[in-house]
């Protein structure tokens, strides 16, 4: 295939392998060990890794390439989710029409917001997007309740019309499918003390992640991508080269909005609920954090950032005192209590504190985000192995 370079192919292949083997990689600890708490290889979290990865990849096309910091990107995620759930309610539980509608609706919504917001740049653009997203959130939470089911979030119910679906006789809520494949189907494999879960929904998300990643590589390396980077570094010169930047920025905005819509649609496909909080500014902020943490403007960074934050949110928040006592029970009582008391600040209900500290450490010491950390480790490894300069240089470019 001549469409992407060898180095990019390597990166894509790397991501594909990781995605394929995620159930193993994310479950390094035996199920019964104390460290099993740190295992992340269960369907919901793996799905979230992939979905937020897609979201961050899309956001990176806008922020990383074009330099426009949108503070309202979660709105598109929310709109995508609502569209998908409505398709489940009205048409059928097949995820394909749902995903199509979420991408289209998010695209149209971002076209509208982008058209207005892109009249300004810099922080003025950020505040405009923030304003739109906060308005969407406020309205979705209250006034638009008939459409969004407000506080509770839009869910499927037994008496939805679902005109394309067969009559539901089981009395149970139907589940989302892809032409009969149920998203929640999981095949569990026990190897010794380990327990690995292979979930259909996750693999569908992973396929979409790979597609999204592949598309983003293509965009990064295309003339369009080059033009977007030009927008980021010098709009003035572009103008004096006869280029109206608006269509480019708007296209980037809509593309990343559609990525967000896809992520929202997938989220609803894995778990048919769309909550208004998905559109709140904190959710938008989270996307920004993911991208910067991972490494703005890099291909892989945003996906890593997304994984990092979701891991903390889902794993650290579940480490309670009992778990801590379990880990340190071998210590003398007094010491155990002291250690648990200290760690208790950082885990369970204190997971926000850990997250805040991690943010600060990463930004202070790794300005390029996790990707910089990776390449530093890579370089260090190279130097240790005494590789020649050229080799290390080519790998750094590839890692981008």
């Amino acid at each position: 295939m001549n469409t992407i370079s060898k180095a990019d192919m390597k990166t894509l292949f790397f991501v594909a392998i990781i995605a394929l083997l995620a159930p193993f990689i994310l479950n390094p600890f035996p199920t019964d060990s104390g460290l099993a708490q740190f295992n992340a290889g269960y369907p919901d979290l793996m799905q979230r890794f992939a979905i937020y990865g897609i979201l961050a990849i899309g956001f990176n096309i806008l922020f990383g390439l074009t330099g426009y910091l949108s503070f309202g990107h979660a709105a598109f995620l929310g709109v995508g989710s609502y569209s998908a759930v409505w398709m489940f309610k009205l048409l059928s539980m097949n995820i394909i029409p749902a995903l199509i509608l979420s991408v289209i609706v998010a695209g149209l919504f971002s076209l509208l917001i982008g058209f207005i917001s892109l009249r300004r740049s810099g922080i003025y653009f950020s505040i405009l997007t923030l304003a739109f997203a906060q308005m969407s959130f406020a309205l979705a939470y209250s006034v638009l309740t008939p459409l969004t089911n407000g506080e509770t979030g839009l869910q499927i119910t037994l008496n939805d019309p679902r005109i394309l679906a067969a009559e539901n006789v089981s009395g149970n809520l139907p589940v989302t499918t892809l032409f009969g494949l149920e998203m929640r189907d999981t095949w569990a494999m026990q190897v010794g003390a380990w327990d690995f879960q292979f979930n259909i929904g996750y693999y569908i998300c992973a396929i979409f992640l790979l597609l999204a990643f592949y598309l983003s590589i293509r965009i990064f390396r295309s003339p369009f991508g080059m033009m977007l980077r030009a927008v980021k570094t010098n709009q003035n010169r572009l103008n004096y080269t006869g280029i109206n930047t608006r269509p480019y920025t708007l296209a980037a905005f809509v593309i990343s909005g559609m990525y967000a819509g896809l992520a929202g649609g997938l989220m609803a496909s894995m778990d048919p609920l769309a909550g208004a909080e998905r559109m709140q500014w904190t959710a938008s902020g989270e996307i920004v954090l993911m991208t910067i943490l991972g490494g703005t403007g890099t291909l892989l960074g945003p996906v890593m950032g997304a994984g990092f934050i979701k891991y903390f949110e889902n794993i650290f928040s579940k480490i309670n005192d009992t778990v801590l006592h379990g880990w340190f029970s071998w210590m003398p009582d007094g010491l155990e209590n002291i250690i648990v008391w200290v760690l208790h600040l950082f885990t369970g209900k204190g997971w926000h504190l850990t997250l805040g500290i991690m943010f600060m450490l990463i930004v202070i010491f790794l300005p390029g985000g996790l990707m910089e950390g990776m390449s530093r480790i890579g370089n260090w490894w190279k130097r240790r192995k005494g590789d020649d300069d050229a080799e290390s240089k080519s790998t750094t470019t590839a890692a981008e």
């Binding site: 119910t157 494999m189 010794g192 949110e313 192995k385």
Partner: protein, 445 residues
């Protein structure tokens, strides 16, 4: 370089080979229901807000859960297990299995709550999920549990919808609801403030606020009150002054604050600051009513709650045997009395365990059958029944008032009246609860 690669490759393939040679592939045994406990223990999932504005409430819920687990496993003084009318719990876990638990953070967001509940179900093998301190979260998690095939024992959720249009076969609510608040409060308000009153409502602009307002308006109007106005306030409001200011000139002589949590504290504080309670309107003293009280939150309003009426699910000053036993074991363990949130979650855990014992299984359908129509006593609130048709619990409701002379920081509310259960009951097809279907119990797997 090439040398290194080759060596690396050989090493890796060796490991993979070993991994493939070793395995005894066992796909999980065919179970009749989701997360059927296999070993000597059973895992429950406690899903409470640990961050965000309701974190303190969540912390209290968690304390109660831990206490309940301790009691179920035979530790402590047994608490309400001694007063509970059903005697199937013996302190050796549930069905002989030791009770273990996992905790998670709902963040009071339906999304995060579901993610947390899913991880409990998928990763930790929880067979029951319980907790939450808002209706949005409760309804979202209840829907999830229905889909996943586990039991959901709701924590704090006061919206009519939880057992109304959003009711689910796998979900059970011990807490009371908006309708009951209205039904319990209205007669007390009539007795204290008279028939001829003009009420002005400030209502949180989302589902819970609406159902709460609807209920209290209907109940007070039935007693002859007139509703002057109902103003919806945005969720994000922190300063309610601009909503409170117009109340005085509206001709109303009662202000009803359909707010909860931080909103309630702030709106009540504003109302008191504006001197509403010192005013005379239509020759009557101006009054404020807060339909849903929570002791933890009432504390945040400080002096302002004094003398203000509201309703609550349970209060530690109740003197029945069950409440006394619970307050004693909770207070001994933690040094302060439990909140209504703690009471609800403690009772829910015990009720679930009891239902498992009585049905002899953890299968959600069995548990559900055991809970449906279950009548019991000794858990505070007098004789209680889980109605089969909508999984709503029916019991006495407390009307409370902010205490004038509190003796301690926990002594914020005083019970004015215990409204008997018969007075707050309603038909299954009551219009405020119409729509939606319970469906069938789902055992999953």
């Amino acid at each position: 370089m090439s040398k290194f690669t080759r060596r690396g490759l050989i090493k890796t393939s060796a490991t993979v080979g070993a991994g493939l040679a070793m395995p005894t592939f066992i796909t999980s045994p065919l179970a009749a229901y989701t997360n059927a406990p296999t070993g000597g223990s059973v895992t429950l999932g406690f899903n409470v807000p640990q961050s965000g504005p309701y974190a303190d409430e969540g912390a209290d819920e968690l304390r109660a859960y831990k206490l309940a687990v301790e009691h179920l496993n035979g530790g402590g003084d047994g608490g309400m297990m001694n007063t509970f009318s059903s005697k199937s719990l013996t302190g050796n876990g549930i069905l002989g299995k030791k009770v273990e638990y996992v905790t998670g953070d709902t963040q009071t967001k339906s999304d995060a709550a579901r993610a947390s509940a899913k991880s409990m179900i998928e990763k930790d093998g929880a067979v029951m999920i319980t907790g939450g301190s808002s209706s949005g979260v409760a309804i979202a998690v209840q829907g999830l549990c229905q889909e996943a095939g586990v039991i959901f024992m709701a924590g704090l959720t006061h919206s009519n919808d939880t057992t109304g249009k959003d009711k689910k076969a796998n979900g059970f609510r011990h807490f009371f609801n908006g309708y009951m608040s209205g039904a319990a409060l209205a007669p007390v308000l009539e007795a204290r403030y008279g028939k001829d009153r003009n009420a002005y409502h400030l209502t949180a602009d989302y589902t819970w606020g609406w159902t709460q307002q609807e209920s209290i308006q209907a109940a007070t109007e039935a007693k002859g009150w007139n509703t002057v106005n109902n103003v919806l306030t945005p969720l994000a409001t922190t300063d309610f002054s601009s909503y409170v200011a117009p109340v005085l000139n509206s001709g109303a002589d009662v202000l009803v604050l359909n707010h909860y949590g931080g909103n309630m504290i702030n709106s009540l504080t504003s109302a008191v600051q504006f001197g509403l309670r010192d005013k005379m309107v239509n020759g009557k003293n101006f009054e404020i009513v807060v339909p849903l009280y929570s002791r933890l939150m009432a504390r945040g309003a400080g002096e302002n709650v004094k003398g203000i009426f509201g309703s609550t699910n349970w209060h530690w000053s109740l003197s029945d045997e069950g409440s006394k036993a619970f307050v004693k074991s909770f207070g001994t363990k933690y040094g302060f009395p439990p909140s209504q949130a703690a009471h609800t979650t403690y009772v829910q855990t015990l009720l679930y365990a009891d239902a498992c014992e009585r049905s002899g299984t953890f299968n959600p359908c069995g548990v559900s059958e055991a809970l449906e129509g279950f009548k019991f006593d000794g858990m505070g609130n007098g004789p209680t029944e889980y109605r089969a048709e909508d999984h709503q619990c029916f019991k006495d409701v407390l009307v409370v008032k902010g205490k004038e002379n509190p003796t301690s920081e926990f002594d914020v509310l005083e019970v004015v009246e215990i409204t008997p259960r018969s007075q707050v009951e309603y038909a299954v097809d009551h219009p405020m609860f119409a729509g939606g279907a319970l469906g069938k119990c789902n055992p999953g797997a």
